[in-house]
Symmetry: C2
Subunit: 363 residues, 2 copies
Amino acid sequence: MGKSTTERDQGAVAAPEAGRPTLKTIAFMTGLGVTTVSRALKDAPEIGEETKKRVQLVARQVGYRPNRAGVRLRTGKTNVISLVLNTEDQIMGFVSDIIYGISETLAETPYHLIVTPYSSKKDPMEPVRYVVETGSADGIIISRTQPDDPRVRYMTERGFPFATHGRTHMGLDHPFHDFDNYVFGIEAVRRLVSLGRSRLALLAPPSTLSYHHHTVNGFADGLSEASVTEFPHNTISIDDSIEHIRARTTQVMRRANRPDGFVSSAGAATLALVAGIEDAGLAVGKDVDIVSKQSSKLLHLFRPAIQVVNEDFRLAGRELARCVLGSIAGQTGPALQSLSRPSGVEAYEEPVSFGTPTPQAAE
Amino acid sequence: MGKSTTERDQGAVAAPEAGRPTLKTIAFMTGLGVTTVSRALKDAPEIGEETKKRVQLVARQVGYRPNRAGVRLRTGKTNVISLVLNTEDQIMGFVSDIIYGISETLAETPYHLIVTPYSSKKDPMEPVRYVVETGSADGIIISRTQPDDPRVRYMTERGFPFATHGRTHMGLDHPFHDFDNYVFGIEAVRRLVSLGRSRLALLAPPSTLSYHHHTVNGFADGLSEASVTEFPHNTISIDDSIEHIRARTTQVMRRANRPDGFVSSAGAATLALVAGIEDAGLAVGKDVDIVSKQSSKLLHLFRPAIQVVNEDFRLAGRELARCVLGSIAGQTGPALQSLSRPSGVEAYEEPVSFGTPTPQAAE
DNA sequence: GCAGAAATCTGTAACGTTACAGATGCTTGC
DNA sequence: GCAAGCATCTGTAACGTTACAGATTTCTGC
C-alpha cells in the first residue's frame, strides 16, 4: 500500500481514477508531472518538442477537455460571453439571428454564450452590474444603445470588455457594431422621392436610442436634399404596440394633407403601418409608398409594393462577437468598430461627430 | 510575520483581502470558521440559530455571492441549463420567445441559460454529446423532437436531466412540454368545415418530427369526422423555403380540383402559402380559407381572413424550464409533462399511445 | 575537469467551495 | 464526580487548473 519503490518516483502522479480525463490522467499516462502536461498542452517554449507532441497526442486520444471550473477558479477567466437582452423587445425575432450570428463566431473558440435577460420595466443597468460584479462572463454584448448610455459608462470605468449593438456619442472609444441608419434614412427618402412622393413621414425607433438619431438625421438630410417636406409622425415609434401604430396611422391618413410616403425602421411596425393605411381606405404602392427595413425577408410577401432594405442581424451577431472577443484580448480602436450597410460590412473609418455619421452613401 | 499569538487562534481565518467577498471574508468578519459560514448560509441544522442569523446578515451586507467556479469545481453542479438550438431553424423567431420564457423561470433560481447551437447540416447529437460529456450544464432542453429520438435515448441512458419540446414515442417516460397539435389539427379542420370548405390540404411540419404526426392525425380525424376529403399537399413542409412553398402552392391551386381550405402549422409558411394562392389569382377568405398557427400575432394584419390559432412559445419556455429543473431535482413522471392548448397549459394526464394523443378537445 | 548557462522538467500553493471527520464545551443522568 | 450525549463549531482535504520558484540534467566554454 506504500508508495511504489521505483527509483524514479518523484514525477509519478498518484492515481488513474476513471471518469473524465484530467491533467492528472494524462500526467499518469505519460509519466510526466501535472505542470508539464499543462504547459505542454499550451505549447509553452520551455517544454521539449517531443514531449509536447507526445502529450498532445495522448490528450487527443483520451479526449481531454480542460475543466472549465478549474480554469475559471484558478485564472478568473470564464470563457463566457453574456448577451444582455430586453425581454419585451423585438417581435418578429431578430434576436434569434443575433444569437445565431454570435454563436457562429464563438463556435471556433472556447467561449460559451449565456443569455442574460432583463425586463424593460426594470433597470437596464441591473443585468450588466450583475455580470460585472459577479464576474460571470469575460465580456458583454448589449443592444438598445443610447447616445449617453450608463451601461457603457459603467463598463468603461471598470475596464470591463464589451461591445454595443449601436453607437454612443459619449466621446468614448468603445467596440461596437451598427447598421448605418443614416444611410438608410437618406436612401429611403431618395427612393420615395424617385417614386414621386413628396410628403414623407418617418416611423422611427424610440427617441432614447442612438439609432433614432441616425435615422432621423438621414431622413432629414434626404428631405433637404430634395427640398421635400416632412410630415411629422413622431408621436409614435416602432416600439409602440401594433394596435397603437395602426390606429394612429389611420388617423393621420384620414387628414386632407396626409403623407404619401413612409420610411419605417422595423418590419413588424411596417405591418401595422400598412394596416393603418388600409384602414383609411388607401393602398400601398398607389396612394402611398413605403420604404422599410426588415430582418426576415417577409415583407415583400405581405405587400409586394413595399420597398425593403434588409438588415442582416446574423451578420451583426458575428461582428459583435468579434468585437467583444477583441475587447477581451485587449485590443482597442477602429478595428473593433464596424458599420454595416445593406450591401455588407465596412470598417468604421473616421470618428465623425454624432449627428452626421458617414455621410457618403452606400453604392 | 509569525502567527498571531492570541489565545483563540484556531478559528481565526487569515486575511481580509479586498475584492469580491468570499466565505473567507465572512468568516473573518464574524470570527467563525469558513466551514461554519458555508453551513450557516445554507441553513444547516447543526449551526446555532443566532449564528445563522448573524452570518446571513453579514453576507447580505457585504453582498456575498457564492463563486460559481468554486461550487462547480467542488460539487460538479454547474447551475447552468443548456438550450440546444438548430441555427437554420425558424424564421420569424419563436426562438426568442422560448428563450425569454426559460429566462423568466430561471430568473428566480441560481441557474444561467446557455445557448448551444448546431447547424442542421451537422449531427444533432453533437451538441448534446458535448454538454453531457463535458458536464457543461446540469440539464438540457432540446426541440425538434423526433418520435424515436437518439438524443433522448442518449440522455436517458446516461441519466442526464433534460426536457424536450415535443413528445417522443419510445416508451420512455421523460419530461416534455408540447403544444397539442392533435387538437390543433382536428379543430382546424372543424373550423374549415364550418366555413363550408371540403377539399382540405395540410401544410405540415417535416415528417421527421413528432408533431408532424400529431398534426397529421388530428387533421385526419377531423376529416373523417366530417367525411371530408384530403387534398394531398405533402410534398412540402413548413421547413421548406418560402419560395418553394409559394411556387408549389401556386401549382396546386391552378389545378381544376384544387383545395379550398388549408391548415398550416407555422406563421411564416402561411405567408408563403397565401402568396402562392394569390399568385394563382385566388383570394383568401373567398376562394379558399386558411387556419394557421402563429406565435407572433401578425397574421391577422397580413390577411384578416386568415383563421389563427396562437401558440404561446414564451409559455413553452417557462414550462420547459420548469420541467428540466424538476428533472434535475430528481423528479419524474407526469408532473414534468405538460401539454398546452391555445387556451393554456394542462397536465399531461394519461400516457396514451402515440398517434391518438389526448383525444378530448379543448373547450 | 568544472563553473555556469541552457533546456527541460518538477512540486507546491492557491483560486472558493463543501464533505468529512473530528474537536470543544456544556448538559444530563446517576 | 464523571461518562455519555448533545449542540456547535472546527480544520483538512479535495475538486482541476496554473503561477511560481525551484530542481535536475545536459551542454557549453575555457
